[in-house]
Structures are given as C-alpha cells and as structure tokens.
C-alpha cells in the first residue's frame, strides 16, 4: 500500500528594504507598537501608495537568480478583505500579472532517514509576486481588548510560489532551505525566521501512483524547518489515515501546533474569501526595461549552485561538502578566503613543480583541509556558542595562518585545536599563539631519536614482548614517546623512528 506525497510551497520573504513598499516609513523590526505607522500605514483618508523601487529591484534579483522570466509589465491588484490589521481593507498584491514568472531552483536533498544517499533535484517555481505585509493583532495585553500594531503593515514581501514538485518532507525542507539560502545570498531578505522574515505555507496532498492529484490542505505560516518537517509528516499520515479509514480529505487551511505536533483546520474552503481582486487604480502598471534588468543583473553575486559546481569540479570536493560550504554566502566567503590564503603561502604545492597538475593538486589539498575545518571545528564552535556564521569571530586570515602551520608540520592536529580555541576566545594570529604556548612540533630527528631511545631503555620488558610478536604494544610506545616529548613530537616522524628502533 504505497502513497505518493505531493507538496508545493508558498514562501513569504520580507524584502530587506529600509522603508515600506508603498511609503517612506521604516521597516525596522521590534520598534514600539505603531511608531512606524505613518499616514499610509494607517490608511488615513486620502493617502496614496508610491512604489518603492528597492523592493522591485529585489524581486528582479530573485527572478534572475532563479532563471525566471521578468515581466516587462506587471500589475498591482487589490485583494479585498476585512481584518483589523489590514488597515485599507485590502492588501496590495499582484494577481494575474506577477513581476516574476516561471523559474527553477536546484536543491540538494539529504534524506531524513535510512541510508539513502543525498541527491539533487530541480524544483520549478511557478511565480513570485510583490505585495505588502499586514500589521499584527496583539491579543491579551489588556482585558477583553485586541490591540493593533501597524509597524509591519506595508513591509514589502515577495511571495514565491512553487509547483507541487516535492514528494517528501525532506524535499520540502531542502527546497525551503535552499530558498532561504538564496534570498540571503543575493541580499534581498535577512532570512530571520523568528522575526517572521521568511514564512512558509505548505500545500500537502496524497494520492495513489498514477491517480490524479488528491485534495490538498494548506499548512499556514511555518517559521522553522524543524516544524515544517514535523507538520508535513503529521499531515501526510493524517491524510493517509483519513482516506484509508474511508474518509475524505477536504480542502482547508490548517495550522501546525508545535506543542502537540499536530495540525488542525483553521477554515474550510466553504468559508474561503472572495477577495474580489482588481487592478489597483492608484498604481500604474510596473514596467521593467531591459536596461533596468541588466543593471540589476550586474549586481548579482555568483550563485550557490554555480559555486557548488565549481567547488566540485575545481577542488574535487564531494557534492555534500560543496553544499555545506555554500549554505551561506559568509561560509563560502570564509572558505574561499582561507583557500586563497593557503595557496598564497604555497601550501600543497608539490615539490616537483614540473607535474602538470601541480596547481590543481594544491587547490584540492588546500580545499579539502579548509572544508574539513569549516565543517568540523568552526561549525562545532559556532553551534556551541549559538552563533551564526556571519558572527564568526575568526577571520579567513587567522584560520589560513593556522592551517598553513598544520600543512608545513609546525603544529600537530592536537596543537592546532588548541591554537584554534585560543584564537576563538582571545583572538590573535596563529604564529604568536604557537610561540606563546610552545606548541611547535619537534621535527628535529636527533631529538626524536633521543626520546625514542629513552623510552626503549626504560621499557626493556615491553620491547622484548613487542619483538616476540605483540604488535599491539606499538601504540603504547607511541603514547609514551609523545608524552616524553610533551606532545610536541611530529607524529609521523616519531612513528617512523619508533618502528625502525623497535625492529632492532
């Protein structure tokens, strides 16, 4: 008994303009209620909307980044309904002529369970349109009264609608994450999900293979990827159970309760609004010239997917390493900065420079080293301190300096971890820390031989045992010698000398 899951997303991204989409009021988050509600936000009689060009440019950026058609002419429409946080009694949105047409986003899916391998998938984006956000109703501040805060009213939104191309919670989450990365990457949205800058509505339906689409239910306003996954899992199971028990799924808008992990219907299709869309006569059609489009295109950075492909082909990184390194622009910038630093220091350059692929080899060596550190220590420390990559206290210069010293054998891996921790907590350059803490490895073969000789002399019985075939004792000798060197001996060298001397 298999079921196919069909998922489509509508994502509301708050565009990162300083002022509102149709007025000059500030969009900053967290101000005292209604201090950012100007005459337009309040919908005083007689006020009129004036379109914020910055919002349009952000929409164009998004369209270009997803290979979408940018409409040369799009139209703002009024979506009419009454609610106290909607001051005009209509929302200015776009209806049949949106600014961004069909595009696509390629995502890297990490299956959530089992041993399934990560895979790539392209999700089609139906459209993206500009609209204004509503204000907020504030319940419970005083007895029996609902307050209205219009600070958010008129904040620009880009609503991004996907085709129902996703067939698992994992794919939906991967798409949402990729979108989240992209909008921050191209600088159109701060992506702050707690503050509601990135909100997802998820349409879910199930069907038997080969059957027409089932009836969908729309889970509204998910503001975390974890909740999205939980909500989809719950909803899919609920729909399957409902149908298998002889019931029918009815089209509805539902909410996910993170406390119970359940979804529940908010309103059914029967009481769906008739929004009476019509073109807003206060705004002229939005016209975007080729010239404007090209100006915006010139400001676009290299996009995550292009970077991933480049990392895989130039640096021979695995697709999942590449995906981690392009999970944000700051991560990619750190990665590229450190690799550049290492190459400038000659790290990984083969000793025989006539090798045709010397340069490529150096790049791959440096990239792998940096990738391991970024997905390892750097990411672990960020998690520990609850920091975002944008707040990472270590610069590419610092990290590069330290990795250079690992590569040239000055410090061991364990020494490097100490340098890293010090750098993280106190700042400073690797060389100074190594010096101050005496972390430099002993690579002098005379000194290492002396240490090894001492260990052998002090453990004659164990040497005999080893020589009679107890190979496992090798680890004991490494440990003892390393201890004797106060951890500073170059491990590779130490191993080599030990092996030679123990062999007799």
């Amino acid at each position: 008994m298999t079921w196919e899951i069909v998922i489509g997303l509508e994502v509301h991204t708050q565009l990162s303009t300083n002022t509102k989409i149709f007025s000059g009021a500030s969009t900053a988050f967290g101000a005292e209620p209604n201090t950012q509600a100007d005459a337009v936000s309040l919908a005083l009689p007689g006020v009129l909307p004036v379109l914020n060009k910055g919002a349009v440019e952000r929409a164009i950026k998004f369209g270009l980044a997803t290979g979408a058609h940018i409409a040369p002419r799009s139209v703002f429409a009024r979506k009419n309904y009454f609610y106290p946080d909607l001051p005009k009694g209509y929302q200015i949105s776009q209806f049949d002529l949106p600014v961004v047409g069909q595009g696509a986003l390629t995502i890297q899916v990490e299956p959530l369970s089992g041993n399934a391998k990560p895979y790539e998938k392209t999700v089609r984006i139906t459209r993206a349109h500009l609209e204004e956000d509503a204000g907020k109703s504030v319940h419970g501040e005083s007895q029996g009264v609902t307050g209205v805060d219009l600070n958010r009213a008129g904040t620009p939104l880009l609503e991004i609608v996907s085709e129902p191309d996703m067939c698992s919670a994992a794919e939906a989450v991967a798409y949402a994450k990729a979108l989240h990365t992209l909008v921050r990457w191209i600088g159109i949205c701060d992506g702050n999900m707690q503050e509601g800058s990135f909100r997802c509505d998820v349409n879910v339906s199930v069907r038997k293979p080969g059957q027409p689409l089932g009836t969908r239910r729309e889970i509204k306003n998910l503001n975390s990827f974890k909740f999205m996954q939980q909500a989809i899992d719950y909803e899919v199971q609920w729909q399957i159970d409902t149908i298998e028990n002889g019931g029918k799924v009815h089209q509805a808008t539902i909410l996910f309760n993170p406390d119970t992990g359940e979804t529940r219907a908010m309103r059914s299709k029967e009481d769906a609004h008739d929004y009476r869309y019509f073109p807003d006569p206060d705004l002229l059609p939005l016209e975007i010239s080729e010239e404007w489009k090209e100006q915006v295109r010139a400001t676009l950075p290299e996009l995550p997917h292009a970077k991933q492909a480049r990392y895989v082909s130039n640096y021979a990184l695995s697709p999942s390493d590449a995906a981690v390194l392009t999970s944000s622009r700051e991560t990619a910038d750190l990665f590229e900065g450190v690799v550049k630093h290492l190459l400038s220091q000659g790290v990984g350059i083969l000793t025989s420079p006539e090798t045709p692929s010397a340069e490529a080899h150096a790049g791959q060596f440096a990239a792998k080293l940096v990738a391991n550190w970024i997905s390892g220590e750097v990411s672990a420390q960020l998690n520990r301190d609850g920091l975002d990559i944008a707040q990472c206290p270590i610069t590419a210069q610092q990290l590069g300096g330290m990795l250079t010293r690992i590569a040239d054998g000055t410090i061991s891996n364990s020494g490097a971890k100490e340098v890293f921790r010090t750098m993280w907590a106190e700042g400073g350059e690797a060389d100074a820390i190594i010096e101050a803490k005496g972390l430099k490895q002993v690579s002098d073969s005379g000194a290492i031989e002396a240490i090894v000789d001492g260990v052998i002399a002090a453990n004659a019985d164990k040497v005999a045992e080893y020589r009679s075939g107890k190979d496992k004792l090798f680890g004991f000798f490494v440990g003892a010698a390393m201890k004797a060197s106060q951890g500073k001996a170059n491990p590779a060298q130490l191993n080599e000398v030990l092996k030679k001397k123990l062999a007799g």
Binding site: L44, F82, P84, P87, P281
Partner: protein, 484 residues
Amino acid sequence: MIESSLSQMGAALRAKKISSVELTQLYLDRIAQLNPELNAYITTRPEATLAQAKAADARIAAGTAEALTGIPFGQKDIFCAKDWLTTCGSKMLHNFVSPYDAHVISQFNNAGAVNLGKTNMDEFAMGSSNETSHYGSVKNPWDKARVPGGSSGGTASAIAARLCAAATGTDTGGSIRQPAALCGISGLKPTYGVVSRYGMIAFASSLDQAGPMGRNAEDLALMLNTMAGFDERDSTSLQRDKEDYARDLNKPLNGLRIGIPKEFFAEGLGSDVAKAVEAAIAEYKKMGAVIVDISLPNTRLSIPVYYVLAPAEASSNLSRFDGVRYGYRAPEYTDLADMYEKSRAQGFGAEVQRRIMIGTYVLSHGYYDAYYLQAQKIRRLIAQDFVEAYKHCDVIMGPTSPSTAFKLGEKGDDPVQMYLSDIYTIAVNLAGLPGMSIPCGFGDNNMPVGLQIIGNYFDEARMLNVAHQYQLATDWHSRAPQGI
C-alpha cells in the same frame, strides 16, 4: 469687491486698498448671515481663517505676495486639511480631524490663500444633488427650493452666493461641471493626472480629479496654476512641465473648430437647456468659430459603464472606513464582525451603501468578467470615440446637464433618474479628458443653464481661452442670484 475677479482682488490686496483680514471678514460675515439657510459650508473656523489672513497681510507687506495671496477660498470637504474636521459629507468621518494637508490644500496654503471653510458635498462625492450629505442638503441660491447639483454642491452654492471668492471641487462623473451648471458658475475638471489626488478622499480613483470652480474662466486659470503640477506622492500624477493656464486667454477664436456631438442633443435633453446651448454655439459662430458635426457613438454606454467601474473602485476605497482606527464606530457591538457591520451600516448613508453593494457585486467571483472587464473594454471604446472626434475638431461643446436645477427631494427616490443627470459629463471622466461648464443663459424656471466645453488631453489653456472669449462677449457669468 465680492464681484471682482481674482486678479482684481489680488491687485487690490497688493495695492493695500483692502487687507486680507478685511476681505476675509467680509466673507465670514456673509457666511454667518447666509450659510444657515444655504448650508454650503460644513465647517468654518473663523479664528484659524483670520490667522491665515493675517499671515497673508504680512506676506503682502513683505512684498512676497503671489497671485492668490490673501484671497479667501472655500475648500470642498473631500480634501484633508491639517487641524480641520474633514468629513467628506459622511457621518463616518464626523470626528475626523485631519493630521495632514492634501496636495491641493498645501498648494493653496503655499500660495498664501486663505481657507474660509470646508464646503458641503454629497457623501463621499456620491450624488448629483448634494442631498446625500450627512450634514444636510445644500440650497441653490437661485431658488432655495432647488438643489445646487452635486457632488460639489456646497462649493457651487457658496460661489453663486458670494460666500467665497472661489472654491475647489472634485469631479468623478460630473461633480464639478453639473453643480457649476446648476448654480450658474464656471468649473473645470482638468485632464486626469494634472492635479494630484494626494489627500483627496478617494471615491473612484481612476476617475477622480480635482479642479477649480469660480465665477469666470479667468479665475479658474489662476486657480489651476496653483493647483496643477506633478506630485510624487500620487503615482497617477503626471510629470509635465509647469504651464501658465492663463497664457492663451486672449487669443481670438477665428477658425476654432467646435465639434457638436449629435448624441448630446437627442432625447432626454430639456428644450430650454437645448435652446440656451444652441444660442451659445451661435455666439461662438459670431466669434469666427466653425461648427463640425461629430458623433460619439459609445457615449450612450457611459452611464452603465460608470455605474460598474466607479462603484467597484469605491467598494474597495471605502473599506478603510471600518471603525477600527478613526471615524465612526458603532457604540455597541458583540464581536468584530458585528462592529464592522454596525459601524458601516450606521456610518454610511443609503446611496453610499448602495454603491458599495453594486461594487462588491460586480467584482465578485464569477461576475468580474461580465461586469468589470466588460466595462473596462467599453471604457476604452468611449475614449477612442473622442480620439476620433478630435481629428476633426478642437473642442467639443454641448449641454452640461439635461435639465436645470431640480427641486429638493424630486429625484430622491429614483436613483436611476438621478444618475441620468450626469449623462453628458460621465464620458469625459471615463476618457480622462478635461471638461468644463460655463453659464450660458437661463431655462424656463429662470434657473441657470451650463455650456459644457470638452477639450483634448492637456488642452486646458485652450478651453479656458474659449470660455474666456465667450465671457467677454456675454454677461451670463456675472449674473448673481437675487437676495444674496
């Protein structure tokens, strides 16, 4: 002084033959005396008004006076004016004191003009008789048993009764021209987009246009110089070079081609109105104009098209009046939906509610294509008729209104009859063209008749020239009602 033109008043003020305070007081006294009966003003604030007059006098003394400095004007109560009660003729805004100035108001303020008060109007500009005002109907100074027209009825009545030097109006389907015709004054609705709508309470955004109303064309030109101009706060405001609308006033009319649309002289036109309008056209012929017969075949559809589009936009524009943030809120309600329903049922009058319901209906799912989209198509055809006509003529003339002022209450029970009084004016709004009305005689009951002059886009200066030349040759515009 009250019979002087604006330029004469301005000259007298600058020559210090009279102070703005004196002139303003003169009008305030007339308002105190005559307004209780005419009800042309909803709000006056003599102290604030005199303070403005005093400031104007200081400006005159400082030698920085402009054409309108110190002259007292009325302002239609559709324009938001800072610290002024701004009701739009509705109970819904009975307590709304505007915190800001409309573009038109700040243009007058910047020119040093004096605001005498807010003139009465049909509620939310929906009406043709000024009977839908929550603040009572306005009387026509020519016969106080008759309506002044609407929706700018307060303005028209105030001008005819000399309760201001001139005043502003707005015109969505004839609301400047029809009351101008019915009160024997002059009024101009400019090309859509010439005057910013910022701060003008919206009725039907794609049709609404503010314009000047006064006693003669020359006054309108001076006022339009102050009112017109690009305003970045209104996205439909047109970015054009500033122009002097008085520049062509004195051009001769030799060879002027006047288009006469046969549709404007068909069934439904009062014979007394027809007679006066035909006499005016004959006068133009005497001045050297050439008459061209034209046809505007689609204008017969103007009223149905207008009564789809204007209510559609209005139903949405008026949604902000919900009792939440300002304006009227029902004193008692059980929940949110009840608050909306009661506040809007009690705050809006019958005509406004009728139009909100029509508008909501025509935009509804399943009806949109048949009504709204179809109306938009016909709207383009109507505009195309004019484009075609202007290949053969320079201006179009005809009656402004099919009849002279009717009696108060006469059409109150029959909205369709009321709607038909705008039959000649509505097409002009649908096409976005400029139109004006000037007095051209009197009908059977000695009530004024208006001649409508419709110009091509941005041809206001020519229209004012055409009107001014007629007013040099005739004296209909300087007649005043008796007993005022």
